[in-house]
Amino acid sequence: MIGRIFAWLADGAHWQGSDGILTRLIEHLAYSLVAVVIAALIAIPLGLFIGHTGRGRFLVVNLTGAARAIPSLGLLFLAVLWLGPKFSGDIAFLAPAGLVLVVLAIPPILSGAYAGVEGVDPQARDAAKGMGMRGTEVLRQVEVPCALPLIMSGIRSATLQVIATATIAAVVGLGGLGRFLIDGLAVRDTPQTASGAVLVALLALAVDMVLALVQRSVVSRGLTGRYAGVPVVDVDAREGVTQPTAAMEHGA
């Protein structure tokens, strides 16, 4: 079987055209990027606000818990059946599916941003105030940089969730690599299905690795303890017990 997957993937014809691997890959990346960016634009400011002011804490805690329990496949079908008839053409499934992707991406990012700010060392905050910083300055110059590891891990888990759900969304007609899985299952084309599964898994791994590198470059070395000649301290290991949930979203 492994050989047949390689053979399918090695066939140049499968890579080209409007239903080829390259097109599907770009579609998958585009959906995921757009959904995560929109979700981040909503969730990060909201999470920072809640973490900074302490107002609406119950909202974050309950929302993230509840969101994890809702099955993404059911949500996707409901959205398409309910909202689909309100649109015509391709938008009929694109809009509801996109909406579901954004909705699913919000809770992990929100809880990451909130927990990041909430978890900032109170002494660092006091020191900033003592230096004469105002509320927004404390937020921008102290709380956000300190919260970046958790904000990034929220974005990473949201991204994984979106990539996984975008795969499933091929059932309702969305493009992307999920097409190979869903179409392959429908016509019992095992090499195509399996190759699609391998591609999706590789995509998820690659994207997560890229985000890990981004996280490494944006998080201050003062937090990670990565100085020249000093052994690397894993940021993830440091988050540890304090915030197990932000890094544990997956859902789909």
Partner: protein, 215 residues
Amino acid sequence: MSWFLDHLGDVLDLTVRHIYLAGVPLILGLLIALPLGWLARRYKALYPVLIIGTGLLYTIPSLALFIMLPLLLGTKVLNPNNVIIAMTIYTVALLVRTVADGLGSVPEAVNQSATAMGYQRGRRFVSVELPLAVPVISAGLRVAAVSNVSIVSVAALIGVAQLGSLFTDGFSRDFMDPIIVGVIACVLLALLFDATILALTRLATPWLRAVKAPS
């Protein structure tokens, strides 16, 4: 509502299957994660290896894992064991870190006291470290339980029957009632799992309630 009442038997049958597919991996995953978490704690060099390794497994989207497993294991595609194994992998991926961190949350002074009282390494682990790590492990287990219930429904796409079958059934007939019933049943099931773990945790941690002495 009338659809639900007419199909009560079917929904119950699917619910039982769903409990089996989401619940068994939770137990298997915990049993596998305990020794792995202990290893990660005991041998510091193993910690990043195990955490990154299980983290990579967790990034694989569920539908892809459901499809790849039968090919790797040689099992039949419709065999529910594929789902059990996939969900066990996800559970282990979540719990190894939780177990390691939970064991790490046990105060060193407690460990040293236990050693001084004559506890050998194995007995100390079972009767001192593990009980004290229960609150942290339980928090991870609750996350795993709730997300398991949600992820299992994706298995409907590969034809393994559980509550997710209501989604595919409803969608193929352009009929919302089964989907709504399925979503509600999934959420209720997740709450049930969560409440069960909370109750078991309460039973396992009498010391959490015993510390409040009158001052």
